[in-house]
């Protein structure tokens, strides 16, 4: 379909665009910005005045729960929630059941996503077989099957020799290693930040050094092996500093932050609120401030949902017995836009961390509005107020500490490959 989207506030950080203009789409691709290509005859002409038009969100880490935990979510249910939230690409970690350590599982996920025809779904392959931390997975075959990188998800690779060889082998195939930086011994059996709140509650604390020691080891291995490494969901200020220093020395490392880490702190756990049980744990106010600064500076190149939908029962237990994670694709965009409203981020910084930042970490040519690129687009109303609740959430998991909050900023229309996959209410037709 040929489409003209008129008078939108177009934000495309990759091309340094931040202005009210028109966008032109044909054959699933972006064919013009500001000026229509010669002879362009739109079949649909949308008036997007008052709306922001950005590249569709690339969510670096979202668990869709299929295969293996369909009672928590399916590719169909979670990609529907994603496109409602302006997300056009989701990348799932390999800790499904079975694990993505064979091409068959990766193909299954791709196939289910293709059947749903909503968001694009990309997959990370396993770094070690069954994520056992000991034997290398068949990374060559996983790459052939379309895996964009490899990861051991939340499972540790405690043997440094295994990690070194895994990195070398991944680099052989040009695969980025996505790392959950957590020293397994310092984190073992513990559930919250190691600080005053955890002490008062009598909950075992994961110290900040559990993260920084792991980051230090992986950075030294990057220096040794030259492998591209991406640090997932950093939670501490010192780790941000370490990654910044490594980047300034030219090491091929990137990092992301989970959106909830930019809001929640250890104080939110105070009444044993199991909806704030996440891994790594939410930390101090100082850490949160330094994570926000890390996004502004571009050290943390991506903000991801770290979406982990759960059934109701998973959170109904004493704190340490509950499953960690937050259902977050429904609220990702609004929460990040909230940081813009609070002057924590500029709109361009926010959009960058949701689009070209994560696309670069995945090594994919998305997250931009460059001419000729696929028309993956999110149109959102920055002023729409809405309540995050059981009615508005489309994810199968409603486990979020933000439930009941009034959020500002909501997707109106989402396009994947130029195809409208979500439209809140028909947008006005532009005149002329």
């Amino acid at each position: 379909m040929r489409m003209r989207i008129s008078s939108a506030h177009v934000v495309d950080p990759a091309n340094d665009v931040n202005q009210v203009t028109d966008l032109f789409i044909a054959d699933g691709r972006i064919v013009g910005l500001g000026k229509a290509p010669d002879g362009f005859e739109p079949e649909r002409n949308l008036d997007a005045s008052g709306l922001v038009l950005m590249p569709g969100i690339v969510d670096l880490r979202a668990r869709l729960r299929e295969p293996g935990a369909e009672h928590k979510g399916t590719i169909a249910s979670e990609t529907l929630a994603a496109v409602r939230g302006g997300i056009t690409t989701l990348c799932c970690p390999p800790d499904t059941d079975p694990v993505v350590d064979t091409p068959a599982v990766a193909e299954l996920i791709h196939q289910r996503a293709a059947t749903s025809r909503l968001a694009r779904v990309d997959v990370l392959g396993a770094l070690t077989r069954n994520l056992d931390g000991q034997n290398l997975a068949e990374m060559g075959a996983l790459r052939e099957a379309g895996c964009l990188g490899v990861s051991n998800a939340l499972q540790p690779v405690s043997d440094t020799e295994v990690m070194r060889r895994a990195m070398e082998y991944a680099a052989t195939f040009g695969l980025t290693v996505f790392v959950h930086a957590e020293d397994p011994w310092l984190a073992k059996g513990r559930v919250v930040h190691d600080g005053a709140v955890g002490t008062r509650l009598g909950l075992g604390g994961i110290p900040e050094i559990a993260e920084t020691i792991a980051v230090a080891r992986e950075l030294l291995l990057v220096e040794q092996t030259g492998t591209r490494v991406h640090f997932c969901h950093l939670s501490t200020g010192p780790a941000v500093d370490m990654v910044r220093d490594a980047q300034s020395h030219g090491l091929p490392v990137s990092a992301d932050v989970a959106v909830h880490q930019l809001f929640l702190t250890e104080q939110d756990v105070d009444a044993f609120n199991s909806y704030c049980h996440v891994r790594p744990p939410v930390r101090s106010l100082d850490d949160r401030a330094r994570l926000r600064a890390g996004v502004r500076a571009g050290v943390l190149g991506s903000i991801c949902s770290d979406h982990q939908p759960h059934e109701l029962d998973a959170k109904l237990n004493p704190f340490a017995d509950t499953a960690p994670g937050i259902s977050a694709v429904d609220s990702l965009l609004a929460l990040v836009i909230g940081l813009v409203a609070d002057n924590e981020l500029t709109l361009a910084q926010a959009v960058k961390a949701l689009t070209c930042g994560p696309a670069a970490a995945l090594g994919i040519d998305r997250g931009t509005l460059s001419l000729g690129s696929p028309a993956d687009i999110c149109l959102f109303d920055p002023d729409e107020q809405w309540v995050l609740d059981d009615t508005s959430m489309l994810s199968r998991g409603h486990n979020t500490p933000f439930k009941g909050h009034t959020l500002k900023g909501r997707a109106r229309c989402t396009l994947v490959d130029g195809r409208v996959v979500f439209e809140a209410s028909p947008l006005r037709a532009a005149v002329g």
């Binding site: 005053a196 955890g198 002490t199 008062r200 509650l201 909950l203 075992g204 029962d313 004493p318």
Partner: protein
């Protein structure tokens, strides 16, 4: 400081609905508990050891962890208040068959009970049960993980007030494994709220959790300094499993540096009392001479425990009755 579950355990009129933690409770309420316990303290010495306050009420002792002293004193307290008592040792029953905590709770609710006394190995378990229990049910925390053991702390406060008087002039030293101790956390909250002049914690650094000072204590790693001029010395039980892993090398070495003997107690105030929540590890955290000596109030703590538990049970069930009257 945000208070832990405060709105959960106290109603709009400031009455105790549940008793989950000392944190966030007002000083007046703690004093009220101590005063109420004083009024019950004589009941056990009468020929007829019962008052009819909770006649017709059913109290369930729901223990997911083994306990002798806490469970029996709760049971005695309930019986002296004329309540019916049901003891459920959940560590050997339904939960081992895979029943969820919430399902156990619902099953007991269906039996029309009025109060649960809960002991559980996970911090926050009593909060969880109180948040999900039917509104007519009171929950008393009989110890949850490393979080809180509020009735133990209140009976300790009762002992301190009886033997030492005004808290404002007291230096209190808590010696031992604070990191894993729900008793110590509740004692610290109680002592700070009741206005103790100084609260100290004495332990090797492996047994001191981070940010403990923020609870209002001074931390010492030297026993002599930590005991200097103390009016009250509280010893904590050292669990045998702490010797595994990397917290302590041996019970022997612990006693060498942190075991309280008559000789080391000389650093404390001459009139200092010695307390211990039990059960004792003689020769580990406490020498027999001290445990059985004239300054020890350890056995009296146990009998005070019954009065404190009677006080808390009657106050919590009483607040529900009062709330129901107000509604009608």
């Amino acid at each position: 400081m945000t208070s832990t579950g405060n709105t959960l355990q106290v109603d709009a009129q400031g009455r105790l609905k549940h008793f989950l933690t000392i944190a966030g409770l007002e000083r007046d309420l703690l004093v009220n508990i101590l005063d109420t316990a004083e009024s019950f303290a004589g009941v056990g010495e009468r020929a007829v050891k019962k008052v009819p306050l909770l006649r017709g009420k059913t109290i369930v002792n729901l223990f997911f962890e083994p306990s002798t002293r806490t469970r029996t004193t709760f049971e005695l307290a309930a019986k002296r208040l004329s309540a019916d008592v049901l003891n459920i040792n959940a560590s050997t029953s339904s939960t081992t068959k895979g029943e969820s905590l919430l399902d156990t709770l619902r099953t007991l609710e269906a039996m029309h009970c009025d109060m649960f006394v809960v002991r559980h190995g996970q911090s926050g378990a009593a909060h969880f049960i109180a948040s999900h229990a039917a509104p007519h049910i009171s929950v008393i925390n009989g110890g949850d993980g490393s979080h809180a053991h509020p009735t133990q702390a209140m009976l300790d406060m009762f002992a301190i007030r009886r033997h030492k008087g005004d808290f404002a002039s007291l230096k209190v030293s808590i010696v031992g494994d604070v990191a894993h101790s729900r008793v110590a956390r509740s004692q610290i909250h109680a002592l700070v709220t009741l206005g103790a002049a100084e609260v100290r914690v004495v332990a090797p650094r492996t047994l001191v959790p981070p940010g403990l000072e923020k609870m209002g204590v001074r931390v010492y790693d030297n026993l002599r300094q930590g005991l200097a001029d103390a009016d009250v010395v509280i010893l904590l039980r050292l669990q045998n499993e702490r010797m595994q892993g990397a917290l302590l090398p041996s019970a022997h070495e612990y006693f060498q540096y942190y075991g309280v003997t008559e000789e080391r107690l000389a650093a404390a105030h001459p009139d200092a009392i010695v307390m211990h929540p039990g059960p004792l590890n003689r020769g580990v955290e406490i020498d027999s001479d001290v445990a059985d000596g004239s300054r020890s109030v350890i056995l009296r703590q146990v009998s005070y425990g019954i009065a404190i538990r009677m006080a808390v049970m009657s106050m919590a069930i009483g607040s529900h009755a009062a709330a129901e009257r107000e509604e009608n």
